[in-house]
């Protein structure tokens, strides 16, 4: 917009300044108004220079234009005043400045400058005062500064161009006169006119020289300002890089490049324009040069400086917009699997290109691989070069998008498969960092450059089960590496300061389940990691994060298990804040103690990978409050029954009482159905009119306890087992079967199979699990508690029972029942507390064996210690099969869970032998190996 137009649109306070400016000015506002565009187009500054012939010319042009303006106004009365004012102004101006037109030029130049000054002030003020427009995000002061500097840069560039054109004019006149009048060969001693010409020529050369110096100074100045501007852009770009790195780690940040692209392009455009200006100046020097020509000495310097700036700008403008990422794991970029496709994209933020020049981008993997022994080498299988796509819309920009890349490992000469064995490097596969480098041959306006940029280091895996630990490496690197290209980072990985780590961990939850970790969560994790309240200096070593773990798995593996569980089954509950999640036992009791009976909370298991459990409080009539928890549910259980449904239908069986759901209020005090109502799965209410072939099925979870058992007090819980879970199969809606009525079905117990050792599950395949224990078992005295596998009423052939074997033991048995397993449904048999072996007396073993349950029982059963038989009589209603020690048969878990291992962790979620006598009786069985205070 033209300056005068802008001035007229100023708010009243600023407009007042303009009026003041013109009140006493020798240039009336009428003239300014009538010839606004022309006045703004002239270089008054230039004309104001002493001895400038330009001033006189401009002055006379102005008078002529005023005359024309007057003539163009009609003879009518409507413009009477205007005509009068213009005429008066013309006469006044002529009178005042005829002698010294340069004073007039100076006056106009100053006026224009003042106007600009007022405009700038008004804008600056307007930006402060104006409420942020709703459509655009509020700009930071830095952004405003950049915008303003870009605008100033453009204005200054225009001024330089104007000065250049003036210089061109001067040179042309000089050149012409020189060729016309300068005839050195002849004798002109008696030609006074010639001397005059030469003198005039000398004056012309003087002014040309001055103008050249002026142009040079302007370009110097422009280069100086653009350096500052480039610094600003560089800062913004590094802020973006940081944001991108954080966003890779799951932080919710904006990584849009459009604004940066706009800025880089604007500055690039300006600098290229300046480059062309410089070249044009160089051409003028070719035509006319003289001794002490400023262009002679200054031009090369200017050119070098400008080219260097352009190179720097372009070099930094080439960025990796999208870090390498496999489409199937979008939340975990920078982990690539061989033979899986992945994509990555680079962008040149200076959106300037030559349409006739085909720009090609290339990628290389590990161009300078670290000289580490055993460092794997990879090939990019797909084409590694691509023509840069040029979109017309700014959104598209100059982009090279590699979408279907795959990697293949190079096999070392002759060593073939398994070469890693002998060639093993010091780093694990998931700690080996690789880089992809983009190169781009850029050419524009005669400037040819090879641009280069690199991705962040990534980890290459060959199996999905390495994904989790690979991601841990990516987290660690991007959290801590000071150098974004350091491929040797894991040779000495630094420890992570807790505040930083806490933030990154929270992002993991944020990105996977849309809710980060609260302060309380982090507090609990910190206590788990550091054993105390974290100080700002607390730092976690890499090995402690990703490798060592007391429970047989690392902290990260545990956390990642929870993340997987959240992602697959509990996303909505977590997002809505229904899962308290990370609560230590001590904290849990503190929270629940003061709540009414039946208040429960949901938290993650600390002892197993990916487990979630409910703890509730009961206040007995006398004595301290009691806390109960069920054996954690893992993905396996949640796959068949969602957590809200488990909570809805959960039944606690107490003998001779109607089963009841102990989970009444979600902590702090929301009624269960109110809290979980929206998450219950739809019950299929049968249509009554329709004749039903089958009854509806419904799966619920049940625990049972014996009526006379004592609830454990808080104190007891420290060492005592909490829950015993056994498993029952029962037809829908039926009362628990009484002993003896269990029909003997096909007595072919299934063979337990390891599904996942970590999850301690066993699948019983293809077997109808029926009563595994003889009916007479119930009469056994003193007998071990035995998990009963009562036969389902409806048994399709080949149906599989689901067993959940909690460890039978002396604690209050909480029997979990599965009501009516669907025919043909696959059952999973999770064994609750795998660690508890020594339960069976030899008699019991015999008994079990005698009852055909042998398949269920481990061969190692004989090793089991005898159980101190002080167990109360089995209740009449509870015929239970001792599901003792399934685990030793599970080869994979045997090592992990060998009960005789004194260092075996005793996960606190797992049912433990309750009586102190057990500990004293069994020397191999250490008390909780973790400091008891951890749990309190």
């Amino acid at each position: 917009m033209a300056q005068w137009q802008e001035v007229q649109q100023l708010p009243p306070t600023h407009l007042e300044r303009v009026h003041q400016l013109y009140t006493n000015a020798a240039l009336p506002m009428t003239v300014r108004q009538s010839l606004a565009d022309w006045i703004e187009d002239q270089d008054w500054q230039q004309a104001a220079e002493p001895f400038s012939s330009h001033a006189r010319m401009l002055f006379h042009s102005l008078l002529t234009l005023l005359g024309e303006q007057l003539g163009s106004l009609g003879p009518g009365d409507e413009d009477f005043m205007l005509k009068h004012n213009l005429r008066k102004a013309r006469i006044d101006l002529q009178a005042a400045f005829e002698e010294h037109p340069e004073n007039f030029a100076n006056l106009v130049a100053n006026l224009l400058q003042e106007e600009r000054c007022i405009l700038r002030r008004a804008q600056a003020k307007g930006q402060v005062e104006a409420p942020p427009a709703p459509s655009t995000a509020p700009q930071s002061s830095q952004e405003r500064e950049i915008q303003q500097r870009l605008a100033e840069f453009r204005t200054a560039l225009q001024e330089a161009e104007r000065a250049f054109r003036h210089m061109e004019d001067l040179q042309d006149t000089f050149d012409f006169s020189y060729k016309m009048y300068y005839l050195p060969g002849q004798d002109h001693s008696h030609d006074p006119q010639y001397a005059q010409h030469v003198q005039a020529l000398q004056a012309k050369l003087q002014s040309l020289d001055r103008q050249r110096r002026e142009v040079v100074a302007q370009i110097q100045q422009l280069l100086g300002r653009s350096e500052t501007l480039r610094d600003f852009l560089q800062q913004e770009l590094s802020a973006w890089r940081e944001r991108q790195q954080r966003s890779c780690l799951g932080a919710p940040t904006d990584t849009c490049l459009l604004q940066l692209q706009g800025w880089f392009t604007a500055l690039g455009e300006g600098l290229f324009q300046l480059l062309q200006l410089l070249r044009a100046v160089g051409e003028l020097r070719q035509k006319v040069t003289y001794e002490q020509d400023p262009l002679q000495s200054e031009l090369p310097l200017l050119e070098k400086r400008l080219q260097e700036q352009l190179t720097c700008l372009l070099q930094s403008a080439f960025v990796v917009e999208q870090q390498p990422c496999m489409p199937n794991t979008p939340k975990r970029p920078l982990v690539l699997r061989t033979a899986n496709k992945f994509c990555t994209r680079a962008r040149l933020l200076v959106r300037l290109h030559d349409r006739n020049h085909r720009m090609e981008a290339n990628i290389h993997i590990d161009r300078d691989p670290p000289k580490t022994r055993g460092f794997r080498k990879f090939n990019i299988l797909t084409s590694s070069s691509k023509t840069v796509l040029v979109g017309d819309s700014p959104r598209e920009g100059l982009v090279c998008d590699f979408q279907y890349l795959t990697l293949k490992e190079q096999k070392g000469g002759g060593s073939g498969k398994g070469s890693r064995g002998s060639n093993e490097g010091p780093l694990a596969v998931t700690e080996e960092l690789h880089l992809i480098t983009f190169t781009l041959a850029y050419a524009y306006c005669g400037l040819e450059l090879k641009l280069e940029t690199s991705t962040l280091p990534f980890v290459i895996i060959s199996n999905n089960n390495q994904l989790s630990s690979a991601w841990a490496s990516v987290l660690w690197f991007n959290m801590l590496s000071p150098n974004p290209k350091d491929q040797q980072f894991f040779s000495t990985p630094p420890p992570a300061p807790w505040p930083r780590l806490a933030e990154v961990l929270s992002w993991q939850f944020q990105s996977i389940a849309e809710r980060g970790l609260s302060r309380e969560h982090l507090q609990m994790l910190a206590e788990k990691l550091f054993g105390s309240k974290p100080s700002p200096e607390s730092a976690l070593p890499w090995t402690k994060f990703s490798k060592d773990g007391a429970a047989g798995f690392s902290f990260w593996a545990w956390l990642d298990g929870i993340l997987a569980l959240l992602h697959d089954h509990l996303k909505q509950l977590w997002k809505d804040g229904l899962i308290l999640g990370f609560v230590s036992r001590k904290q849990e009791k503190k929270l629940l103690k003061v709540k009414r009976s039946g208040t429960f909370l949901i938290r993650f298991s600390e002892s197993m990978l990916g487990g979630v459990t409910c703890t509730w409080v009961e206040h007995p009539e006398s004595g301290p409050p009691a806390f109960r928890a069920v054996v954690p549910y893992t993905a396996a259980e949640l796959a068949s029954l969602a957590l809200p449904d488990i909570i809805r239908d959960y039944q606690l069986l107490a003998e001779e009482n109607i089963p009841e759901n102990p989970l009444l209020f979600l902590y702090p005090d929301t009624a269960r159905d109110e809290a979980f109502g929206p998450y219950y799965s739809q019950r299929h209410e049968g249509i009554l009119t329709k004749k039903k072939e089958y009854l509806n099925q419904r799966l619920i979870r049940v625990s049972s306890r014996q009526p006379h058992e004592t609830w454990q007090t808080e104190e007891d819980l420290v060492v005592a087992t909490e829950d015993l879970e056994t498993l029952r199969l029962k037809s829908g809606g039926q009362q628990p079967e009484s002993p003896g009525t269990v029909p003997g079905g096909g007595r072919t117990p299934g063979t337990p199979q390891a599904v996942s050792p970590g999850l301690q599950q066993a699948v019983v395949e293809g077997v109808v699990l029926q009563q595994a224990v003889a009916a007479g078992l119930g009469t056994q005295q003193p007998g071990p508690q035995v998990a009963v596998l009562p036969s389902p009423q409806q048994l399709g052939s080949g149906s599989i029972g689901v067993l959940q074997t909690g460890m039978g033991n002396l604690g209050p048995p909480v029997v979990l029942q599965l009501l009516q397993v669907g025919p043909g449904g696959q059952g999973v048999l999770p064994t609750g507390g795998g660690a508890i072996g020594p339960l069976l007396g030899s008699g019991a073993a015999e008994l079990l064996l005698g009852n055909g349950a042998v398949g269920l029982l481990p061969s190692g059963l004989g090793d089991l210690e005898g159980l101190p038989l002080q167990e109360p009589e089995l209740e009449a209603g509870a015929v239970q099969l001792e599901a003792a020690e399934l685990l030793p048969t599970l080869d994979d878990s045997a090592v992990l869970l060998d009960p005789s291992d004194p260092f075996l962790p005793q996960p606190e979620d797992v049912a433990l032998p309750a009586t102190p006598s057990l500990f004293t009786a069994d020397g191999d069985f250490p008390p909780l190996h973790i400091d008891a205070s951890d749990f309190q």
Partner: protein
Amino acid sequence: MSQRGRHQESKTKLEISPSETMKAEEENYKEEDKEPKSEDWRPPSVFGAADLKNRAVGLYNIGQTCCLNSLLQVFFMNIHFTKILRRISVPVCGTQKKNNVPYQMLLLLEEMQRGKQKAVSPRELAICLLAHRVTMFVQYDAAQLFLTLWNLLKKQMKNPELVEKLSDLYTIGVQEHLACQICSSETKRNSSMLTLPVPLLDSGFYMLKTLEECLQCFFHPEELTGHNMCFCEHCGKKTPFRQCVKLVHLPQTLTIHLKRFCFGRSAYIHKISSCLPFPQDLDFNEVLTEQQCQAYDSEKAAWQYELFAVVAHSGSTSCGHYCAYIRSLTECKWYCFNDSLVEQVSWDDVKSTYGHSDLSWGQTAYLLFYMKKHPQ
């Protein structure tokens, strides 16, 4: 108030602009006539060039004079200097006038302040300097030219009081200690310097990170051993010495010279363009330790400085350009003086002279001028 005030001022200026030049010229003649009569003549204004009339004035580059121009602007913008300059006695005859550097500088200053022009030409001063065998129109080292200029000023100011004032304004007092490591005999020598030439590389040729580190390095004791051993009179032989410089006095205007040169192999000098941040506020008591100073507490209390000007160099050692960033002492705004162009800038622009390791042709600060915050 300031906006309004300045606005009024500019309005007046515009109003009177057509005729003022002539008036001013007349005044000029009168001045010249008047000046010899009274030595104590003082102009009403004691401001630096850019402080007068809300507009800074540039200096034309008349052939590789960017270095001179930058230094002149730094002199002229320093009100403490112009106070002294305005009190000089005017030489009697014409040739003396032509050859008197302080007088020519004063004339130039007057021209800059009087003028309606955006820039003036330092032609007469250049000619005057030529007469004193200062080669003009060649690439100059700003630190060297500063020294030359200052010495000429000092030499040609006849009034001893002014000479003393000029010295007070710029000279740094240090004490050099040289101690024999064998007999512990120590020699001390007081000396004064015009600039603190601080190194950018430490003794192990590592880049120093900040200006403060450079200063610390400058005042760090040096062990003279091996080839550098000195002859000790007491021991009667060459012995290892410990050499150190202690700071005694700091002037009102402190000049720091960043030695951005590095002798590479084969005596080829190249410029160090890497980043060296310098602060806007500098407290020498925080930079130097007790042992590195040799001054009274009252002296040390005044060692609080504020950045006043930066002379920046762009280009290489053989071919380059100077410009000056100067903070107006009255307005407290930064200006960039690029020969004939003067522009108001911000601290961010000054920061761009910290240097970049990836820009070998970019501008880098070369001379830093700090001003005492509380003049004594």
